[in-house]
């Protein structure tokens, strides 16, 4: 039991859970319309309670995502913990050299695995991709939701662009989630078959040392004594 280190605070995990639930619902209710003529599109629409209920579900989960985004913005702007998390998510020069060294390491041209901090370029790219995606989805989604209102301001082609943008970004998001996020956090050799720290927040000392050496060192102050970072509950 001593082996456990709390890596994600409760607030961080709640944000992740809200994001996960709302994005999954949004993807389900969104793609079922985009592919409503296919069999699985029809099955999804049936599960969502029909076409109208699907639309309501999409808007409802968008509101949930909006609340999550506000929660997150408050978290990173006003809480000490959030400010620190945000700081460690900002891209640095080291991320580019980490990418290069990581490739060299995988090509067996480099013996040592690059030492990552709390968030490596792999996690940062997810965070920032999602940041941009969600802003794009919000803006385009609002225009479509309140199209009757925006008809007074935007030309017709703007709505067509919005529709194309919303659909295009949705495809990018699902690609990122399925291919990259699932791989990085669950299916990569270090985590296979899965990593449950998103739920309880704990990782093993060994795992942290192997995957985020710099974070481990800063936590332990280079000594072997463990100091859980945030709270101990």
């Amino acid at each position: 039991m001593n082996d456990k280190i709390q890596r994600f605070s409760r607030s961080w995990r709640i944000q992740h859970l809200l994001l996960m639930v709302s994005v999954l619902l949004l993807m389900m209710s969104g793609f079922s319309m985009k592919y409503s003529e296919t069999l699985w599109g029809k099955i999804l629409i049936f599960l969502e309670g029909g076409f109208q209920a699907r639309g309501a579900l999409h808007r409802l989960s968008a509101v949930l995502l909006f609340i999550t985004a506000i929660y997150h913005l408050v978290y990173i702007s006003f809480t000490r913990e959030g400010k620190r998390e945000f700081k460690s998510l900002l891209p640095t020069k080291k991320d580019f050299s980490d990418l290069k060294n990581s490739i060299l390491y995988d090509l067996l041209k480099r013996a040592e695995k690059p030492a990552f901090g709390r968030y490596s370029y792999r996690e940062k790219v997810q965070y920032w991709a999602f940041f941009v995606f969600i802003v794009l989805m919000f803006v385009s989604g609002l225009v479509m939701w309140f199209h009757d209102f925006f008809f007074a301001f935007f030309p017709k082609w703007a709505f067509d662009v919005t529709f194309a943008l919303h659909g295009g970004t949705a495809t990018l998001i699902i690609l990122f989630l399925v291919l990259w996020h699932m791989y990085v956090v669950h299916l990569s050799p270090a985590n296979f078959p899965g990593n449950s720290s998103f739920w309880h927040g704990d990782v093993s000392e060994k795992w942290l040392k192997e995957n985020h050496l710099l974070e481990y060192k800063s936590m332990t102050g280079d000594s072997k004594t463990k100091q859980p970072e945030e709270k101990e509950d």
């Binding site: 319309m33 409503s36 003529e37 629409i45 076409f51 109208q52 490739i103 390491y105 995988d106 090509l107 067996l108 199209h147 009757d148 209102f149 925006f150 008809f151 007074a152 301001f153 935007f154 030309p155 017709k156 082609w157 703007a158 709505f159 067509d160 662009v161 529709f163 194309a164 943008l165 659909g167 295009g168 970004t169 495809t171 990018l172 690609l175 990122f176 291919l179 990259w180 791989y183 990569s188 050799p189």
Partner: protein, 343 residues
């Protein structure tokens, strides 16, 4: 022997008309008729016109089966065309346009309810002078159908006669939509009936029948992509999923008096679009005319939408390749390291 056969054959050929000649002894006289309830009712049938009709080769008694002796003193029963024109008949009476479906039509219902003006078979096809719809002199020939229906439906014909469909028909484009293309031939049903080709969901299929026909649209010089683009639009998807309040073709284009966008009287003329869209979208103003309708994002004609679509297509592909390559590299590195450690 051959001569005998020839004579027999000739007799057979002459058969109907020579038999009919006995009927025409009376019915072939122009002033032949009866006085009924103090009114003269003509019983004249023009032998010339009858013989030119599609039924000219039949004998009168083949339809009037209850006439056994001549002269007949009783009024023959009213004939049902369906006594031959039913599916599976053995006399070769054509049923291509499903005459039996008439019984479902509004016409049949009105007739059953006792409306004396409700059309039955002979109202459109005539009684004794039925001609093939392919015969240019037939009332049911494509080009003549608007006048045929219009003889009762005057207001509809007036509206239709202003339409681009009628103009094309007048200019010899036989493929242009006439009444029966949208309203069905025999089972004419009100748009409120879900079986109607003009129900909210049916109307899109009905217009698509012709407007997705590449050859026909090429002849008419009308873009053929409209139905496909519509089915991928919000309106199309919503309608396909049972939201009948979503705009269908006729919501914007009108129906009988359909005109191209270039015509100032058309509801889809850029000047009229704010009003047309405004029927459902109260804030629509002249903005709605700014941009193309019926676009397919993957086609250049979509303008800026095409560029957004193309950007996303290539960007997504690039991201896919990059992420996939990174994962493949990661895994191959992992396996090779493991392998070399075991060596």
């Amino acid at each position: 022997m051959t001569a005998l056969l020839t004579i027999l054959l000739a007799l057979f050929q002459l058969g109907p008309s020579s038999q009919n000649a006995r009927c025409f002894l009376c019915h072939g006289k122009k002033d032949f008729g009866v006085v009924e309830n103090g009114k003269f009712q003509s019983l004249y049938v023009s032998p010339k016109q009858f013989e030119a009709s599609i039924h000219g080769k039949f004998t009168c008694v083949q339809c009037h089966t209850d006439v056994k002796v001549i002269p007949h003193f009783i009024r023959p029963e009213k004939i049902s065309c369906l006594q031959c024109h039913f599916e599976g008949n053995t006399v070769g009476a054509p049923v291509k346009y499903l005459p039996e479906m008439y019984k479902y039509s509004v016409h049949a219902k009105a007739s059953a309810a006792g409306n004396p003006n409700a059309p039955t078979c002979e109202t459109c096809h005539t009684t004794h002078y039925v001609r093939s719809p392919k015969d240019t002199s037939s009332g049911t020939y494509r080009k003549n159908i608007p006048q045929l229906c219009g003889s009762c439906h005057k207001k509809e014909f007036e509206a239709y006669s202003k339409s681009i469909h009628y103009r094309a028909l007048e200019n010899g484009m036989l493929g242009a939509a006439v009444c029966t293309d949208c309203h069905q031939e025999h089972d004419v049903l009100p748009p409120s009936d879900p079986r109607s080709a003009l129900s909210a969901e049916g109307v899109v299929r009905t217009c698509t029948k012709c407007h997705a026909d590449t050859l026909l649209m090429e002849k008419a010089d009308v873009p053929v992509q409209q139905p496909e683009a519509y089915s991928e639009s919000f309106h199309g998807i919503a309608l396909e999923n049972g939201m009948v309040r979503a705009a269908n073709c006729t919501s914007c284009h009108g129906h009988h008096d359909i005109l191209p966008a270039s015509d100032p009287n058309s509801p889809i003329n850029p000047k009229n679009l704010p009003k047309t869209c405004g029927k459902c979208h109260p804030h629509a103003d002249k903005n709605v005319a700014d941009g193309k309708v019926h676009i397919i994002p993957s086609e250049r004609s979509a303008g800026i939408v095409f560029f957004v679509y193309t950007f996303f297509k290539w960007f997504t592909l690039a991201v896919l390749i990059f992420l996939f390559a990174h994962i493949a590299l990661d895994l191959s590195g992992f396996i090779r390291r493991k392998y070399s450690r075991h060596e």
